[in-house]
Amino acid sequence: MQVAEFLKRISEASGVSGAEVEVAGIVAETFGKWANRVQSDALGNVIALKEGEGLPSGEHPRIMLAGHMDEIGLMVTKVDSGFVRFTTVGGFDARTLLGQEVTVHGRRRLDGVIGCRPPHVLSPSDNEKVMPIDQLFIDVGLDASSLAEAVAVGDVVTIRRDAVNLARGYLAGKGLDDRASVAAIALCLELLGNRRHSWDVYAVATTQEEVGLRGAMTSAYGVAPQAAIALDVTFGNQPGVPEAQTLAMGGGPCIGLGANFHPALHERLVATAKAHEIPYQIDPTPGRSGTDAWAIQVTREGVPTGLVSIPLRYMHTPVETVDTHDIERAGRLLAAFISELDDGFARALSVEVKPLRAEGGQGC
């Protein structure tokens, strides 16, 4: 599989949180090439099962991989005398929206632009203020009555942006958060096609992450895995952001460390990366990781969860940038990790009940 090619394809597909159908179709078809079964659930998660050979005991422990396929986008709030007013779905920086091209998913697809007033008519102080989103509008070039027929309140709007290959294996585009991870999972499934593995693998492309980790919540409940690894993007180094807050582009996948992650999974991921000479980085995460891992960990009786992240610049803008080498390394890391999962690791993660004396309380 050509990672950059597949990522470009899903990047350009539309899939705003809650409306992931188009991108889900491509993902289901791709995962299906290496899976025994692909299904979806009530929230639209794509869940692919690649069966393992099972443990000597006959058991089939389940590992879940989760990367979200939804992207942040916009939604129509008002059709206003020939212009479209909108709100955001997920966290957009208002400053990045001015002058962007968009697609309004109305009765038909309408390409448009987020208009802005020309500098000529602005007072000198106007351009020192950030334009709040409620003053922005989309212009699709239709007259008021045609627009009213074609577009309704609640229609989804996506940013229109073709992905572009930059130098040294970088790719820039929209929705790479978190489709870079979906690409890594696809690569992992492909690699596992040539390897033996004893655990069953549930590869899940989740929905609605950007509006509250919703897809991860229901898919993890449904799969009820013995272990899970969420994949997401993290801040890659970029000009203007202190090095202390970022991870190195091209430095390899980042392995999360903190309360959200099971220590045994963290250590095993690090050991696997070392053993296979895959460059990796540690991503210290004090508390809330803000990823699907946060929801998965507290599903049912608790799921041992890990996080593998891909460094990405300019997050939540239409020019998100990744180093595709990091995606390939994440895919390789996952495949190596999964093919080495065994009986011992299943036991290490299982809850051990330790009986004490038969007559409780006698020692007190």
Partner: protein
């Protein structure tokens, strides 16, 4: 004193192992079994004597974790950058002693001398990302021994402040090692129903351990033991003491996360009144506890909260009264026995 051992152990959210070990040692002789689940919760089972009327299982929980810091980056000169774990006011950590990692490497959060500050700087609150920990070690040694992701705890000694009277003690993390110590005392008694003592993890980062523990235990009734806000220092206009030190355990009617089961609150009040145990009602709508996660698990679990007032929680040093603590132990044990007869409809 168990409370001293508990607060001298470090257990920042996500790294509660040392506290768990102290607790296992304390409860081993008093229980039938224990388990440690996927998140690190310690769930201790004490089987019932039988004869309970209606209520078959009760979960009492207290959280093991405390607020603290995590290393995020090591500068080239060896300065350690960090982020808070849990809710900490950045103003309280300046110029404090800390211990880093399982090796408990000592360090200090340094501050620029006041002599060198401009007036405007004096009035500005420093952000966490502007602070650093100085260990005195060479940059090389720091780089070798302190990696990003390492946990950092406040280095605060336990001490008895007042031998008589209020019997106040100071130390870090009374929120919620006070609850843990009460729960260990509660386990020494035996009850008609099965008692599940859940020592939970990750309360301070979102009530995460209690949630999965309650799902797994699925009890008929739950109590949460806490060290809670006590804001009773002198103020010009005091509208929010929340609780008062020395006025007995505080019962929650409602906070940001739960409206407590009124039958369980009444049970606690009746027990306190019958036994002459002082108690207070915590000011409503302040704070939140594991009960917020527990009471909405599965089909709903009736829950209540009892807390020891603790001044200055979420800072490096807090203060509580051992009188309040002892009353809390008595009240919890008594209320559990009262519950053996069943819960009114």
């Amino acid at each position: 004193m168990l409370i001293q051992q508990l607060v001298e152990a470090d257990g920042v959210s996500g790294h509660e192992g040392a506290v768990r070990q102290v607790l296992i040692g304390a409860i081993e002789a008093c229980a039938d079994e224990y388990r440690v689940d996927a998140l690190g919760n310690l769930i201790v089972v004490k089987r019932g004597r039988g004869g309970a009327g209606g209520v078959r299982s009760v979960m009492v929980s207290a959280h093991m974790d405390e607020v603290g810091l995590m290393v995020t980056y090591v500068e080239r000169d060896g300065t350690i950058r960090f982020s808070p774990v849990g809710g900490i006011d950045p103003r309280v950590v300046l110029a404090k002693r800390v211990r880093i990692g399982d090796d408990r490497i000592p360090g200090v959060i340094g501050v620029k001398p006041i002599h060198l500050l401009e007036q405007a700087e004096r009035e500005r609150v420093l952000r966490f990302d502007q602070m650093g920990i100085d260990t005195g070690m060479s940059a090389d040694e720091v780089a070798r021994r302190v990696t990003p992701g390492t946990y950092v705890a406040f280095d605060t000694a336990f001490q008895v402040l007042d031998e008589g009277g209020l019997r106040t003690v100071k130390g870090k993390a009374f929120d919620d090692r006070a609850g843990c110590a009460i729960l260990a005392e509660v386990l020494k008694d035996s009850y008609a129903f099965d008692l599940y003592a859940a020592f939970t993890v990750q309360e301070e980062v979102g009530l995460r351990g209690a949630r999965v523990a309650a799902y797994a235990v699925n009890p008929d009734v739950a109590f949460v033991l806490e060290g809670t806000v006590c804001d009773d220092s002198p103020k010009d206009k005091d509208v929010s003491p929340t609780t008062r030190l020395g006025a007995g355990p505080a019962l929650t009617i409602m906070d940001r996360t739960v409206v407590c089961d009124r039958r369980l609150v009444r049970l606690l009040v009746e027990e306190a009144e019958a036994e002459g145990i002082p108690f207070q009602i915590k000011q409503p709508a302040i704070g939140g506890t594991d009960a917020g996660a527990i009471h909405t698990q599965r089909e709903g679990i009736p829950s209540a909260v009892m807390a020891v007032p603790c001044r200055y929680i979420h800072s490096p040093v807090s203060v509580m009264s051992l009188n309040d603590f002892d009353y809390a132990v008595r009240l919890m044990r008594g209320a559990l026995h009262r519950l053996e007869g069943g819960l009114e409809a």
